[in-house]
Every structure is written in C-alpha cells, then in structure tokens.
C-alpha cells in the first residue's frame, strides 16, 4: 500500500467523522439539547471512564465478529447478508446447551462456543445450497433466513427454551461459573473481546497471507476466471459461507456467554446488520472492519450515556453509523472514478 492511498484514506476518514459529528450536533439541536453537552456525554459514555471503556468493549465483541464474518464472505464474493440470523442461531445454540453441560467451566465454554459456531454455519447452509444448486441469490435467501431466525427465537423463548422457573419470555440462565468473568472490577468487559480480536487477527492472516486466502480472494474478484483457471470455486464459496456463518454464530454464543447469560426476545439489537456496515466501512479488510465495529460499539455505549444525561434520544445516535458508511462509500466511489 502506498503513501497516497493512506493519505486519501485518512482524508476520507476525517471527512466522514466530520459529517457524522455534524449529524449528531443537528440531531441534538432537534431534540432541544445543547450539542456540546450531548457530545461530551457521548464521548464520556464511550470512553470517559473504566466503566465506559468496559461497556464499549462488551458491546464490541458481537460487532467485531459479525464484521469479520462479513469480510470473509465478501472477499470470496459471497454476499452474506444473513449475519443477523446466524448470530441468533449461535445464541440459541449457546442458550440451549449452556445450562445443561457438565464439566469444568473451561470445557463447557469451549463446548458452548463450538455449538454456537456450528449453529451459525448450519444456518447459512440452506442459502449456500440454494445458491449452488438452484441459482437463488444469497442476498435474498440470507435476508429471509434472518426473519426465520428472529421468529424462531421468539417462539423458542416462549416454548422449548423458556426458563421453567420464570414467566418471562426468556431461557434459563447459564451457570455463573460458566460465564466469562469481567476483565477488571467494575467493568462489563470480559475475555470475550480478546477471543474476538484473536479471531480477527487469524481471519486477516488467512485472507491476506495464506494460500487458501489467495484462492478465496481470486474466487471473489473474478468468479469466471477462477473457474476456468481450475480453482474449486463452488467449494471455496461454500467454505466462505460456512466460515462467515460460524463467525456470526460465535458472536451470538459469546454474547450469551459473556454479556446476557441467557436468550430472550428480542435478543439482538441488529448486531448482524451493524457488522455488515462495519465490514463495508472497513472495505472487507478484517482489521479495518474490526476497528469500525469498535467505533460503532463506542457510539452505541456513548449514545446510551447521552440519553441518560441530556435526554437526547439514544436511537438518534444509531443514525451515525449509517451516515458514516454512506459518506465513506460515496467518497470511495468518487476516488475510484479518477483512477486509471
């Protein structure tokens, strides 16, 4: 990567942040609060204290993993829009097996995560099969599977998975000993974020440095050439589908293990969709996507604080990721047009 592209990336990032800040200020004004107070509350809520940083990191885990999952799919030319559904599938698997497994906490955690990853990968398989055998665009099938997953969660927490000791639509809690402990006192952050970051690093290395990664990228960049050259294109696509689904499933499993401890309805605040946005912002690069995911998580943590302290509706801050992604995509499209 040359210096020009780093400079232009910085310029794009600065412009995008400026636009996002402007959006936030006007939203604060609309809600009748002082923009400065709102901004301070937002920043303090995102990173102003150990608790705030912990909150941001706790929220990051799921977003980082779904973002990296999206990257793995995108780079292989698979448009997996179903990360939300795969995230839910992972969470369901974790909530289903977690409370009942015997063994040491470490072994149980591993088993729960394995179940979550497998469930995420399994949830993407119908889409992969339909695409390979029937030519159904995966964009459509994965979105539809999201709706199925959300409905399934809603049904399960009122049926098979409902906590017998409570009337709420929620599953039985995982034993406290199995759940990830906080990294530091008074913080919600757990080792889950480290798991997510390690997986990010692993995915980045596989994509950019391994023979498999080169084959996946070639398949994504030029599908017909990949086929003609003699790459096993359909197997590689299936692998990308499954890896992407497994990462999103792991995100769901870690969310249950480290944050919520159980499944309830509605379970997800759109982790799969925010992960997609982070992958777009990171242009399919796992490291950049993970950084974007952490940025979005900090915005989420900050906006909750902003709502508490200034009354500016926190939902307004969820506009910011959208504005950011659109600004960056527009700037990239412009940069792409001036190239040779």
């Amino acid at each position: 990567m040359n210096r020009d592209s780093i400079a232009s990336r910085l310029a794009v990032a600065t412009a995008a942040l400026a636009v996002a800040a402007a959006a936030l200020v006007s939203l604060a004004l609309l809600a009748g609060a002082s923009p400065l107070d709102a901004l301070r509350a937002l920043l303090e809520g995102a990173a102003g204290s150990r608790a705030a940083i912990g909150e941001t990191l706790a929220r990051s885990t799921a977003l980082v993993l779904t973002a990296v999952g999206a990257c793995v799919a995108f780079r292989a030319g698979v448009l997996n829009i179903g990360l939300e559904g795969q995230f839910l599938a992972g969470a369901v698997a974790a909530a289903a097996v977690g409370p009942h497994l015997p063994g040491t906490p470490f072994a149980v955690r591993l088993a729960v995560l394995a179940a979550a990853g497998a469930a995420g990968a399994a949830w993407v398989l119908p889409a992969a099969w339909l695409e390979a055998r029937r030519g159904v665009p995966e964009v459509l099938s994965t979105i539809l599977l999201n709706l199925v997953a959300a409905a399934a969660v809603s049904g399960l927490v009122r049926g098979a998975l409902q906590d017998p000791s409570a009337d709420y639509p929620q599953s039985a809690a995982l034993p406290e000993i199995v759940r990830f402990p906080p990294l530091a006192g008074g913080s919600r952050a757990t080792a889950a974020i480290l798991v997510a970051l390690l997986l990010t690093l692993f995915a980045a290395l596989v994509l950019s440095r391994s023979p498999l990664g080169l084959r996946l990228r070639a398949t994504g960049l030029a599908p017909s050439a990949a086929r003609a050259i003699g790459l096993p294109a359909s197997q590689l696509r299936l692998l990308a589908f499954a890896a992407s689904g497994a990462l999103a499933g792991l995100a769901g499993g870690l969310e249950v293990l480290a944050v919520t401890g159980r499944l309830y309805d509605p379970f997800s605040a759109g982790a799969g969709y925010t992960g997609l946005a982070a992958a777009l912002l990171g242009a399919g690069n796992p490291l950049a996507a993970a950084a974007s995911a952490i940025l979005f998580a900090s915005l989420g943590a900050g906006s909750s604080a902003m709502q508490r302290e200034t009354g500016v509706p926190g939902a307004l801050a969820t506009i910011v990721p959208g504005v950011l992604v659109l600004t960056v995509l527009a700037a990239r499209a412009r940069a792409g047009r001036t190239g040779p």
């Binding site: 290395l205 440095r209 960049l221 017909s224 050259i229």
Partner: protein
C-alpha cells in the same frame, strides 16, 4: 450493400458533418494530438506521443503490445485524461471531461473489448448506443434499427432479439462498431476491430470504412496486421514505447520496413536481442503406442441439434481449428476445458471427461487452457502478476511463500517476454498483449498433456505472436497435444500444423499449413474452395 455508410435507409444517418478533404475548411487535421504523456503508477504509457489524422483518410495506428496505442485513443476519445499534451479538432484546442464530450465533438471509439450490456438484447443495446434513439421506443422500432444498421454498415449484427451475452465475441464487436457509427462521428477510432473478424468481414469492414472516408470522414484503425494496413490505409503512425517513431503515407514505406521497426521496438523494450527459435517439427514419437492423447467423438454442444465433431490428437501433435466465431470451434474448446456441457465423448489419455462441464477434471487430467476472453476468464485483474501466476495452487502451507512466488513470476515473465515494471503490478494494468502472455505463462508453467488455446495470438504484435507460437510448439515438443482455435487464416498457417475448418458445427478434413488463405477463407464461409 449499395448504401453508403452515411446514408441509412431511414435517413437518420446523415453524411459525416464535414466537407470533402481537399476543401479549404479541411486545411486543418480532423484530429491532432500533440505531446501527449500519460503515466499509470510506475509505467510511463505515453511520452510526448503525437498523432495527426486528416479528413478523408484511413489512418493505421501501429505499435507492439504495450506501446501505448490503446491509451492514446482512450485519451483522444475522452475516456482518459492526459497528464500533459494538447488535443486539437480542426485546429481548435479541445478538452474532454468524458467520453460524452468527445462524442459530442464528433469523435467515436470502438473499444478493443466491447462494453455492451450482456443481459440486454441486440436491439436494446443498439438503442442505448444510438444518441438519437427516442426515450420511448417500441420493440419493433428497435428491431428495425438493427436491420437498418446491419444493411447500412454491411455488418452482420445477428438476431435483434438475441441476448448479447449469448453471442460470440465477433458479433458483439460488430454491434459495438454499429453503435459507434450510429452517432455519425466525423472521426471514428477503432481499436483492433479486425482481430475478431473473418477475412471477408474484414474486407467488408474496410470497404465501408473507405466509403466513409471518401465522404470526408476520418478513420483511425489500430491493427497488428500489416497486410490490412497496406491494403486499406492511407497513412500510418507507428508508436514504440509510448513515443511516435514514424508517421507517413503507406505508399512511402513498405510492410517489410514497418515490420522491422515493430519487431525492433518490441525487442529493444524487452532487452532481448535474439530471435525466437521456433522448433520446425514437433516430435511425434510414441504416439502410436500411447493412443490418442485427446479424443473427441461425436461431439456437439448440449442442446444443439445433430451436428457432430470428431477428432483425435496424439502426444506431440498440433491441430489448428479455423472458424469464424460462433461456428462451434470455440464451443468445442470450452467444452474440452470443462466450461460447457456437451453431448458425445471427450477423453484425455483414454479417460472420459464429465459431460456436465468440470474444469477441475480437465485440469486433473493434465489439461491447460487459454481462453478467448482473457480478461474475463484468463486472469484476475485486481491481483498482482505473481499472484496470478501462483494460481490455482499457490505455494506455501500456512503462509504464502512470497519469495517462491516472486522468483517463479520473474522466471515465467522473462521466459514469455512480458514487459512490466514489477511482478507486484496488477494484472489489469498490463496491455492486452502482455495479459495474453501472462495467461500463457501460467498455463505452460507445468508440462501440459493437452493444451487448448483459443485465439492465443489475437491482438498480439508480430514478435509476441511469434513468441506465443514458439511456446505452444515447445509444449508439443514436450509431449502435449495442442488444439489451437483461430479465426484468422493467415495466423492459422503460421502455426505450421494441419488445419481443419469448422463451419456450422461440422469439421472439415485436414488441410496442409500451406493452403492459400483465400481458399481457407472460402471454407470458413461455407463455400467449397
């Protein structure tokens, strides 16, 4: 046929908006490019190149692969902007912000690779290309335009209702040419228009270009075929390494001189002095013992009726299939490579290949394939040269062995004479000819048992084409059976191997490489010689 190019039967295509060439208003060139420079990353594509095109002439633009021809016409037609230099139309300085500006100024480009919409039919594509097409138009009117243009430009545009992505590349190029002419440009630039045309179509194209020039239009044709230049062009400009090295009337020079300059330019650029050594006769030893290396029995593309092709090749044998695109030779090649399903039998070393199309089975049996569409099927434009050359099985276990990839790339690139700044450059940044060499470099990196090459020398300069032919002969000498598909009778003869002509799904008997091109041309058109 009798219509001149400027006068379509509908009257919608008026004569070119220019005066006859000898008039005083035409004192200025129709198009003049002065001191054009353009750099892509580390590659200086053009340095101070110049081009002067007069009204009423057919002007040939020549140069080896990577000389900057395509870049120069892309600048002239507003698709790229020059780093420095001036563009003058009829003596007036102009600047283009896009292809549309250039088109409004009377400049149209027929690109080397068509930019048609594959999912739309012929009638719709021509409607999109025709600047005078009304916003709302009936399907019948669009069909009418196709037959009108087909007649006016004497180009076979195929069925108006056919989806463009189902058409052979030759037909697609003719559609693009018709689209460019529909804007009635004064200066028409064609980037290697004849590379995909059959001989009689080439003659027809030059005839209609001549009519257009006679009516005052200016025409620039990029080509590698010197015979065409001296038969059809008035003047020529020769580019080498981004500079204009010769500009003169064709009557002032000879094909031998220009051919010499072209090869000199190519060799200087590649730092090579020696000529390519071409093995005269491929070794045919052992073929009787081994049986057929490649055997095709009663072949027909899936879903086609009746017509069948059978042929067989032994180790070390080469066969040239000569056909106009769309007659079945390209289908056969793609089917052997596992990219299309078929009826009948195709076997490598006696083992049948699956009929449903499986590129992996073809590769596993020792097959190598050079596709017709190198940009779409031959390489991954966004990846680097060394990454392209490492596919499909990159070296390394956990991590890519970048060092092995680089040294492999350097060896392969220098063996094929690919001119590039570095193996880290992207494959898409190479010129068309160098891309073709890159594909061959990858396919011939390991000994092939069967090599199927479709138009392997299309669009290549003389030196590169000779190098490519030499590599294919080498592969044969090492035991491969080679099946070469081409649409150019002159080129077919140069392979110095038996020629069989494919016409409408059937294959002729063998003709010796010495068969006159005119006879081959008649066979390609389905006329008995």
């Amino acid at each position: 046929m009798s219509e001149s190019i400027g006068h379509g039967p509908s009257g919608s295509l008026g004569p070119p908006p220019s005066e006859p060439s000898e008039q005083s208003s035409s004192f200025y060139p129709a198009l003049e490019l002065r001191g054009i420079s353009k750099r892509f990353g580390e590659t200086q594509a053009l340095s101070e190149a110049a081009l002067v095109v007069l009204p009423g002439e057919i002007h040939a633009l020549l140069g080896e692969n990577g000389a900057g021809k395509s870049t120069l016409v892309a600048i002239a037609s507003g698709r790229l902007t020059a780093d420095s230099g001036e563009i003058l139309r009829r003596g007036r300085l102009v600047s283009f912000r896009g292809a549309r500006d250039a088109r409004d100024a009377g400049l149209a480009l027929v690109p080397q690779h068509d930019l048609l919409i594959g999912a739309a039919n012929v009638g719709d594509n021509l409607a999109f290309l025709d600047p005078r097409a009304p916003f709302f138009e009936s399907a019948a009117a669009r069909r009418g335009r196709v037959s009108r243009m087909s007649e006016a430009f004497t180009l076979d545009l195929g069925d108006a209702g056919a989806r463009v992505d189902t058409l052979p590349v030759g037909t697609r190029q003719r559609i693009e040419i018709a689209g460019a002419l529909s804007g009635d440009p004064e200066v028409l630039i064609l980037d290697e228009p004849t590379a995909v045309l059959a001989p009689d179509e080439t003659a027809a194209l030059f005839a209609s270009l001549r009519k257009r020039a006679d009516a005052g239009g200016a025409i620039v044709v990029i080509t590698h075929r010197l015979a065409e230049v001296f038969a059809g062009a008035d003047r020529l400009t020769l580019l080498a390494r981004g500079k204009t090295v010769r500009a003169c009337r064709t009557s002032e020079t000879t094909a031998a001189e220009i051919g010499g300059l072209l090869i000199a330019g190519a060799e200087e650029g590649e730092g090579r002095s020696g000529k390519e050594t071409i093995p005269l006769e491929a070794e045919k030893g052992g073929s009787a013992l081994n049986g057929a290396r490649l055997a095709v029995t009663d072949f027909a593309p899936r879903g086609s009726q009746g017509r069948q092709i059978s042929l067989s090749l032994s180790s070390g044998e080469m066969l040239v299939l000569l056909a106009i695109d769309g007659n079945g030779a390209d289908d056969l090649a793609r089917a052997i490579a596992g990219l299309e399903s078929f009826e009948g039998r195709v076997s490598l070393d006696g083992r049948d290949l699956p009929r449903d199309g499986d590129p992996l089975a073809f590769r596993a049996a020792g097959g190598a394939f050079v596709p017709a569409d190198r940009r779409e099927e031959g390489l991954v434009a966004a990846l680097s040269l060394s990454e392209n050359l490492a596919l499909p099985d990159p070296p390394g276990r956990m991590f890519l062995d970048r060092r092995a990839m680089l040294s492999h790339a350097r060896a392969r690139l220098s063996a094929l004479g690919v001119r590039t700044s570095s193996p880290a450059a992207s494959a898409g940044s190479l010129s068309g000819g160098n891309q073709q060499k890159l594909v061959l470099a990858r396919e011939l990196a390991r000994p092939a048992r069967v090599l199927v090459a479709v138009h392997p020398t299309r669009g290549l300069d003389l030196a590169s084409a000779a190098a490519v032919r030499a590599r294919i002969h080498e592969a044969c000498a090492q035991g491969a059976a080679a099946l070469v598909v081409t649409a150019d009778p002159d080129e077919a003869r140069l392979f110095d191997a038996p020629i069989r002509v494919v016409f409408r799904g059937t294959v002729s008997g063998e003709y010796p490489p010495g068969t006159p091109p005119s006879a081959l041309g008649r066979l390609m058109a389905g006329v008995a010689p």
